[in-house]
């Protein structure tokens, strides 16, 4: 056996370390790229997060955060590279990039991309007490999206009011413009699309549930087992904007129905509301409708002292609320409780199981 001298030992150590460095650069290229990208990511993300939290403008027609972040990336020469280079293996803030091919974003009359938003008038929401049914928004969403039990993508919470009584709070995914879930997803499976909607690519989701830990609104749901959906869901085509046939081990949530909006239809929850409490519209064109009335989005919000849930967290939701407890539709605030949601499927996909949240 050949005797190896000391230099070889040093070289071997160095070689092992360098090899280790390359392996730990996740086999994607030189270690410098991910590190530089991580630093640049932090350098762009933190100031923008600060800037957006100090901005006095409500999100309204203002440029949404996701876009401005992208512009900032471009300024740093990152965005351009991200657009030009096919990104297989180059980890450039994948969370900012669409996980898979999707539809072209809807464009308003001004030529600008539509920014979908929602306004829920709590004065008109009685939790469907008057209907004697489970909240119709939840029911319609479940039936329209074949939502597995026990997920309520739009869930009607009952909150105690100061001074007694309760109010109902229909809560879909809040479509944050600074979404904590998107920031923490390790594979960029959940992302903000150009219309400002947070979507999930279930072909990419690894099921780590980091987003569920990060979401401050409890609006993310996990397919713990083979999800209890009706057999016909197998026939529907999956798309990121139309999540059916929920695969086991992935996360799901309200997708804000951008496909329907683009086709000129209101989301299921909006059209199903018997009291027309939910408005859906475009913040860019500043217009929203509940199916009957058309309102100027920002003016209607300002006139009625709208608020957003957990505003202090700086998540900048796209779902706004007008305070109230169903008084416009004759609800007695002291009558508490609502009917529980049920899932109507008589038949379920074979081998599926149910669970509770």
């Amino acid at each position: 056996m050949a005797r190896v001298n000391s230099l070889t030992v040093v070289r071997a150590v160095v070689a092992v370390l360098v090899a280790a460095a390359f392996v730990t650069a996740l086999a994607t290229g030189p270690i410098a790229i991910p590190l530089v990208v991580a630093l640049l990511g932090a350098a762009t993300y933190v100031p923008l997060k600060l800037r957006s939290s100090f901005s006095s403008e409500p999100d309204g027609p203002a440029k949404p955060d996701a876009i401005s972040r992208r512009t900032a990336m471009k300024r740093l020469g990152l965005g351009g590279a991200a657009a030009a280079v096919p990104l297989a293996g180059l980890p450039v803030l994948a969370g900012q990039l669409p996980a898979a091919a999707e539809e072209e974003p809807a464009v308003g009359p001004s030529g600008r991309v539509r920014q979908w938003g929602m306004l829920i008038d709590l004065r008109r929401c009685d939790g469907c007490q008057s209907q004697g049914t489970a909240p119709q928004c939840t029911v319609a969403c479940i039936e329209g999206h074949l939502v597995p039990e026990p997920m309520e993508w739009i869930e009607v919470y009952e909150r105690e009011l100061e001074g007694g009584g309760s109010q109902f709070l229909p809560t879909p995914c809040q479509q944050c413009q600074s979404p904590p879930c998107v920031n923490v997803c390790p594979v960029g499976a959940t992302f903000s699309n150009p219309e400002g909607i947070v979507l999930i690519d279930q072909d990419r989701c690894i099921g780590c549930r980091m987003c569920m830990a990060a979401c401050p609104y409890d609006r993310r749901f996990f397919n713990w087992g083979e999800p209890p959906v009706p057999p016909e869901s197998i026939l529907a085509d999956y798309s990121i904007e139309h999540q059916v046939g929920a695969p086991m081990g992935t996360v799901m949530k309200c997708d804000f129905c951008p496909d329907m909006a683009r086709a000129g239809t209101l989301p299921m929850c909006v059209s199903a509301c018997p009291n027309d409490a939910i408005y859906y519209g475009d913040l860019e064109e500043d217009i929203a409708t509940n199916g009957h009335d058309v309102v100027a989005f920002t003016e209607f919000m300002a006139d009625n002292n709208s608020f957003r849930q957990k505003e202090d967290l700086g998540t900048q939701p796209r779902v706004h609320y007008i305070p109230g407890h169903g008084e416009l539709v004759g609800r007695d605030k002291d009558v508490t409780g609502r009917f529980p949601t049920t899932w109507p499927w008589l038949e379920r996909v074979k081998g599926s199981v149910t669970w509770s949240r």
Binding site: N5, L93, V353
Partner: protein, 465 residues
Amino acid sequence: MEPLTEMDSMEESDREWSDRLERRVLAPTQGSSRAFKFWIVGLATVMAWGFFAFYYQWRNGLYVTGMRDRISWGLYITSFVFFIGISHAGTLISAILRASNAGWRTPVTRIAEAITSVALISGALFVIVDMGRPDRLYHLFLNGNWQSPLMWDMLAITIYLTASVVYLYVPMIPDLAMFRDKLDGKVWKPQTWMYRTMAIGWNNNPRQRSALTKAIGILMLLIIPVAVSVHTVVSWIFAMTTRVSWDSTIFGVFFVAGAIYSGVATLVIVLAVMRKIYGLEEYITPTHFKYLAYLLATMALVMIYGNASEFITTGFKMTGEEAFAFRQLFVQDFAPIYWFYFFGGLVAPILIIAFRPTRNISGFVVASVLINIGMFFERYFIVVAGLRVPLMDYEPASYFPTWVEWSILACGVAGFLMLLTLFARFFPILAVWEMKEEHFERRREEKELVDLRVEQIQKELEAVK
């Protein structure tokens, strides 16, 4: 120092000491006892059961665990944090004490470094077990999102793992060469081949020695920041969210302190066991345990201070959901495990170490077992209690691990012990060459002192004459 000439000038007693040390370290390679075989088979059985549980989970989804939407992490993430914590044993003992030139560390470094590598492997696997779609792991490589704390984690842990394996291996080269020379023809052929390959031609010449010293020096300094970063980043999985009990600036520091604490406790247990089994009483002495125990007591005080800093500052203001978090931790659901952690895992070890009647190896082992149980509980209530605080208007969820989770945890522990056992069976568990070096250094100093004294006496005698 010229080691070869040192060997030549060795006195009879030194030669005997050195031979005895080598015999002790070589002993485990000489075959397996009956008890050893039973131990291995037992561990393998537990692991096989754990693999079955994982297969069952793979087929049926995480549905078979106790986790659900509102408490979406449980025993797996707890174990992940716990094992990554244990891995800090090696770095602290080995790198920090090496850097500060603490002589007493030499006999315990090898075992500490082995614990590090083995605990990291066990810990990292728990993340994969926790994933809903482990089959899609490759997305982390293809589509990694560097904004995510989980990616920071993956980067930090893989770097730490490679670094600590290298750091385990490099100082072992001279000892592997010793194994190669002494065991040639006495053990299984592939085993000899392994020692020969791993010793990469070490023949103890001065150039090799200086290269080795340099390499160890560089590694030692590199690995300390890596180790600190690892547990900081692990804590950031939690601290980067907006949940009340996680959204805390102290988390990184606190996790690193907790990691060192449970890591050293694990080291005490493993050392005590190996000392008994392999008869290392001569080398791993009560003094070593005493030093480690003092380190434990110090870390326990740091942990108590950390608890005070965290809970007094948040509890004084009691903003938002903080009241709920406090109630469930101190008086409701999590109170038993919190107070066990506090009194059993922090206060009791300090008392055991402080009072003379219990200040012995058995006392330290009891303290260390308490510490590890306490720290596991701490990780558990950090993860589960943090998730349990309701985010919206719903009834707080509950969580209890199922048999699948317990089985996989048992498998992780068994795997940890298995790897450690195999390491002790096939590799040098003491840093023989470093111990020899120190021994001869000491002998030479003694000799110089004696010579000096003799000279003095002679001078005095001459003066008298």
